[in-house]
């Protein structure tokens, strides 16, 4: 029996998995921020004739795709975090099982309401209700993730909660351990979405100003709440200050402010690059905070490494193929329709240029 294979190993060096985790989590957060923050701004931002406003309409049409991107890009980081921190993540998920599992149902319902909004007629009176439901469900999802991972990073708390109740109907009862973290994520989402509203609405003065307002005050709020969150980590504050985390935080703050500066000048390329790197820096910071929080319980560097290079190369090739196909498909999609070739059966027939609109019956 002892000759059976062991599964307690990592199939690639830890640094490689960490890099992939950080990169994919950053992409997931960018899509999530667009969606969650975008919903907040569309519902509460200043827009004259809100539901007929072209920028709001554009966001309503983009939300289902943003949801698809959020879900799709969320799979990879969750896979990598479970690979390196299985005991921490599964234990926290089991202690909170019903709430954790309900994330799936919440996302499905939110997703359908976003589609219902995108299919509704322009100016529909159903928009506020549909989008409020989606927003509330996505706030639930973000709250649950913050709460669950606040437990995952405190193994002693997970054990204590489990000893008291095994039904999976618990959450982290110590509000201070998750509330600031959650608010930081939500305000961060508003910040990034403010940027996108300004970018997409750059030709509409009111939309740009609305985006600017949310970008600025979202960032101020996120920074303040982030600072409070940091202070609540009193026990590990010193190790954080002595780790590379502090450099990543400093760089991220500087880049965020730089992004704000270029955004105000409507120079969107440097603004977006700075914002993305700032987001990446925050994810790296988060990674260091987790390592320090777990240092007395678990050291990922202790994993046995048994690389599966052949399979990894297959993944890498498929990843490059995926990027290529994504680019190719988007190129096909956004290519201007040529009525002389948009036809049925390969014959040139401008009258039959496919079907005018997706049928909604």
């Amino acid at each position: 029996m002892n000759n059976l294979p062991d599964y307690q190993f990592l199939p690639a060096p830890l640094w490689l998995i960490t890099v992939l985790h950080i990169l994919t989590l950053t992409l997931h957060l960018a899509a999530m921020n667009f969606l969650l923050g975008g919903l907040i701004i569309v519902l509460f931002g200043k827009f004259t004739d809100r539901w007929n406003h072209p920028v709001v309409q554009q966001f309503i049409k983009l939300f289902p795709a943003a949801m698809a991107a959020t879900v799709t890009l969320g799979v990879a980081p969750l896979l990598f975090v479970q690979l390196v921190y299985p005991v921490q993540t599964y234990s926290a998920a089991i202690v909170t099982a019903w709430f954790f599992l309900a994330i799936v149902a919440a996302v499905i319902v939110a997703y359908y309401f976003l589609y219902a909004s995108s299919f509704a007629r322009k100016g529909s009176s159903r928009y506020p209700a549909f989008m409020t439901v989606s927003l509330l469900l996505l706030l639930y999802v973000s709250f649950t993730y913050s709460n669950v991972f606040s437990i995952a990073e405190r193994p002693a708390l997970a054990a204590q909660l489990y000893a008291g109740n095994q039904s999976g109907f618990q959450l982290n009862p110590n509000v201070g351990e998750w509330i600031w973290r959650w608010l930081h994520m939500v305000l961060g989402a508003v910040t990034v979405a403010g940027f996108f509203v300004g970018l997409i609405g750059r030709k509409h003065e009111e939309a740009f100003n609305t985006g600017k307002t949310f970008f600025l005050w979202g960032m101020v709020g996120a920074m303040m709440v982030g600072l409070v969150y940091l202070l609540t980590l009193a026990d590990i504050l010193k190790p954080i200050m002595r780790s590379p985390a502090i450099w990543w935080m400093t760089v991220s703050i500087i880049l965020s402010l730089g992004s704000l500066h270029f955004f105000f000048k409507k120079r969107f390329l440097p603004a977006s690059l700075m914002l993305f790197v700032s987001l990446l820096g925050m994810v790296v910071l988060r990674h260091y905070v987790r390592l320090i929080q777990l240092q007395d319980h678990f050291d990922p560097a202790a994993w046995v490494i048994k690389p599966q290079w052949g399979v990894f190369i297959m993944f890498l090739v498929c990843f490059v193929l995926a990027l290529g196909l994504v680019w190719y498909m988007l190129k096909l999609f956004f290519r201007k329709p040529d009525l002389m070739t948009v036809n049925i059966g390969g014959r040139k027939d401008p009258e039959r240029s496919g079907l005018s609109e997706p049928v909604d019956r």
């Binding site: 199939p11 799979v75 000893a163």
Partner: protein, 503 residues
């Protein structure tokens, strides 16, 4: 042993089935439907068939709403639920196959984007480019199946991986190819059945007739792939595994028989109403055929899952997450020493770890009815003898003291009155009940571990003698610890046994 245990009131099998069955339906439909859409679009464009193009476009909307939203998220749901129900098995799979999953994720990204562009592309893309997106969608969706099929089949037949631990040995395992062909056939069949259901809602017309006939052909082609590949798949399963399952599990094999019947019924309905009299393909028939097809698929999936018992990964990890490489350690040191997450009730902790994955006390696979009217000693004997019971249960790997802790935990929740008082039975009927409770888990008349031949025709004294030495008859057989009334009743019942069985 490193994880807490979700002690939910619902059976684990039920929770898993709710999410998994829905997902496998949708995910297979998502692949077959993708192929159907692009092939049908090509045919419609070649013949300038605008009515059919309109039909396909309507299908594509439903298709996106179902596959991109419900299919993708129930897939995430399966991942969530397996992590909650069996984190150790999930961890083992992720550590071995993470790059397989990561590769599948690449195709998942392509698939989702392609599905969205295909749907939104009706209004803005040329027919050629639109179909290119459709083909990319189908290719990515099918490759997702190619990859995930390796991991799903690995759990049933890990093959050489057990000796080598090599990724490819586990991935291209003995049932890989037959399962891939079978599931591809299921995808095509489901696409045809769904398209038939949609077409059934049209009023009788030439358009309906040719659309129904076309869709029925898809279902028939799917079935033509499915039928031989089912037999191929079953032939790839090690014979000893199949034989052990057949001996110990009646119900899953009944599901298998149901599956064969359903194949015939679906094929007959599709051929008669779909190909021969397509105008008469009424919505009621469409719904019935779809429901039968899904029941067929559900029966197959259930049978496949049941076949794996008592393992979650055959030969490597039991369904209750006991890792086989660690069994000698657990036997020597006990389970409790290795359970990380504990409560102040060791009996309950052990019960959860050893039994609760498949049994609740009063709900799914309930133990209370099995142990009502019995005693703590008998329950302890049964816990230690789980490896011998029918139903292919994992063997007990803890210590005797731990088995007694579990027995005490169970016993405090059962009805402690004598069986005669609980059931109101006496004489032979009480004896039959005593047999069912105390003997029937391991010895089924005409079935599992049948002892009819050796029990028939003995005297009352012989039966009393057998009961006196029951615990000496086999390592996993408990002593008879029932009341005197139950013993006498059991002997009366045993006296009714003949060579032909029981009356």
């Amino acid at each position: 042993m490193n994880y807490p245990f979700w002690d939910v009131g619902v059976g684990y099998g039920v929770l898993m089935a709710i999410i998994a069955v829905v997902h496998v339906f949708v995910s297979h439909f998502a692949i077959g439907g993708g192929l159907y859409l692009v092939v049908a679009e090509r045919a419609a464009r070649r013949t300038d068939d605008t009515a059919r193009l309109d039909f396909i476009q309507r299908l594509s909307k439903f298709f996106v709403l179902v596959s991109v939203v419900f299919g993708a998220l129930t897939g995430v749901g399966i991942w969530f639920i397996i992590g909650l129900l069996n984190p150790a098995a999930t961890e083992a799979l992720i550590h071995n196959f993470v790059w397989g999953w990561a590769t599948e994720w690449c195709f998942f990204v392509i698939e989702i984007l392609a599905a969205l562009l295909y749907f939104y592309g009706w209004s803005r893309m040329s027919g050629r480019n639109h179909m290119i997106i459709g083909w990319i969608y189908f290719g990515a969706a099918w490759i997702s199946l190619v990859i995930i099929n390796g991991i799903v089949t690995f759990m049933l037949t890990p093959g050489e991986w057990i000796a080598t631990g090599n990724f490819w040995d586990g991935f291209f395992n003995p049932t890989y190819w037959s399962s891939l062909v079978l599931r591809t056939g299921i995808c095509i069949m489901l696409a045809g059945l769904y398209a038939l259901l949609v077409a059934s809602r049209y009023t009788a017309s030439d358009f309906k007739a040719r659309t129904v006939r076309y869709n029925a052909l898809w279902a028939v082609v799917g079935l033509a792939v499915v039928v031989p590949s089912v037999f191929w798949y079953f032939s790839d399963i090690p014979a000893d595994m199949m034989a052990a399952a057949r001996a110990a599990m009646n119900i899953p094999f009944a599901a298998l028989d149901l599956m064969y019947w359903l194949t015939g019924i679906v094929a007959a309905l599709v051929i008669i109403f779909g190909l021969l009299i397509p105008r008469a393909y009424h919505t009621a028939i469409g719904v019935a055929v779809m429901a039968l097809g899904l029941t067929w698929f559900g029966s197959y999936e259930w049978f496949r899952e049941a076949l794996r018992k008592p393992y979650v990964i055959t030969g490597y990890m039991y369904a209750n997450a006991i890792e086989i490489p660690n069994v000698p350690t657990y036997q020597a040191e006990g389970l409790l020493a290795h359970i990380t997450y504990k409560t102040d009730d060791p009996g309950a902790d052990l019960f959860r770890r050893a039994c609760r994955t498949c049994h609740t006390m009063t709900g799914y696979n309930a133990l209370k009815p099995v142990f009502d009217g019995t005693d703590e000693e008998f329950i302890a004997g049964m816990v230690m003898g789980t490896g011998a019971t029918r139903g292919n249960m994992p063997p007990w790997v803890g210590t005797e003291a731990e088995a007694r802790l579990i027995a005490a935990h169970i016993y405090q929740q059962v009805d402690k009155r004598p069986l005669a008082e609980i059931t109101g039975l006496h004489g032979v009927e009480l004896g039959r009940k005593v047999y069912d409770l105390r003997c029937g888990s391991c010895h089924q008349f005409g079935g599992y571990n049948d002892k009819t031949a050796s029990l028939a025709g003995l005297t009352a004294e012989d039966y009393h003698g057998i009961l006196d030495m029951a615990d000496d008859l086999g390592e996993e057989m408990p002593a008879f610890t029932g009341t005197q009334e139950e013993r006498d009743a059991l002997v009366q019942f045993l006296q009714t046994i003949t060579e032909g069985g029981v009356q």
